[in-house]
Symmetry: C2
Subunit: 230 residues, 2 copies
């Protein structure tokens, strides 16, 4: 999961014309790229409470007042950085088996947020995003995009006949990854590879049982059929 911005290099002019400014190809774009890059670098280094408008201004070479004018504050900087990351394409596994695909996805999440090299930026970014409405909205969009992309894994499983028709693919993804994010961003508990695997397996199991189908195949998936009692 890449949260780095597309705009790291000032030489890419109009990748993200979200604010259709009258000067999309010139200095404004350069400024935006520099600022987003500086924001990501700062947030990775100092964490989200160490994130300062002055530091971003100093690092990017853009005046502090400009930051406040264009982004309205730290919140906007974070939101913009997140938005820039949202439409990043994302390599999806396609092993032909839902459980294995989900395992790879949760494994990927695990890797990113466990690797001290990669984790700081996305971790700080997600934490920072929760602090403002703008950030929260950007974060919601970000995850919506991710869920939508990753849902393909489940949709392929439906096509294969592995999952019941009408299965909500995004919901399968949420089920698989939620336990990881829950530990990372709510309880603060440690994360291990086995947890990642179990989460994927549990999601695959529930999906196969039809729990994520719009009209559940079997509303009460326990009781009679499979009661693996001991």
């Amino acid at each position: 999961m890449r949260l780095e911005s597309t705009l790291n290099e000032p030489t890419r002019p109009d990748q993200q014309p979200r604010t259709p400014s009258p000067r999309p190809g010139g200095r404004s774009a350069r400024v935006r790229a520099d600022v987003v890059a500086a924001t990501l670098a700062e947030v990775a280094e100092k964490g989200y409470d160490g994130l300062t408008a002055e530091a971003v201004a100093a690092r990017s070479g853009v005046h502090k007042a400009t930051l406040y004018r264009r982004w309205g504050g730290i919140d906007g900087l974070v939101a913009d950085a997140l938005t820039a990351s949202a439409d990043q394409p994302w390599p999806l596994p396609d092993t032909g088996d839902l459980q294995e695909d989900l395992r790879r996805i949760t494994q990927e999440v695990f890797s990113v947020f466990t690797d001290p090299e990669q984790s700081p930026t996305p971790t700080a970014l997600i934490s920072a995003a929760q602090r403002s409405d703008a950030g929260a909205a950007a974060l919601r969009d970000f995850f919506t995009a991710r869920h939508h992309q990753a849902a393909e894994v489940a949709e392929r499983a439906v096509t294969r006949g592995e999952l019941p028709a009408g299965t909500d693919g995004a919901e399968v993804i949420r089920a698989a990854t939620a336990p990881l994010y829950y530990r990372l961003f709510v309880t603060g508990e440690a994360l291990d590879a086995r947890t990642a695997e179990r989460a994927a397996d549990a999601a695959a199991l529930a999906a196969r049982a039809g729990l994520f189908a719009s009209i559940p195949t079997d509303p009460e998936p326990d009781t009679a059929p499979n009661t693996p009692d001991q």
Copy 2:
């Protein structure tokens, strides 16, 4: 899930002698109670970024400098408020059926965080806790305590023969509640009753399949062998 402090009423002297101060029964205790109560009230009213040391000082009648001396800042206030909530006993369902117990638990979480009357305090408290090391530690302790308490639901199921021996009860609870917290505190998506129910059902299903047993009953609950490659 009650996150309110035990120390709302200044007339309870030594309920929480965490800091074994030389004067546990006197003014210090009163001050702490007032401050914790004021913190909860403030955080509920103004959210976690509206939480100000000065406001807490004003509301509690305690000087600002005292707050910084005893609690070290907003972080400490939040952490203390959380700590005070951690050992609150918590009514557990006991319906004789794991799935139903889990449903009631997730339903309870859903209710608390959906009800505009109850949600502000715990929501803001959890968000605020993630902003500092002290808060994060207190939050971890809080959830550890909650998981441990709620694990009884799974342990009873083991006793009943409903779940395989060696099942990690806390893990079952985490699996059941994670999707809710994931939406509430990570993605910011809306939460509905059906999601709560599905999460409980999925957790029950996975638990019955032995996914949360220390030595999984059936490590690969689907397909025959596991050939990770295609």
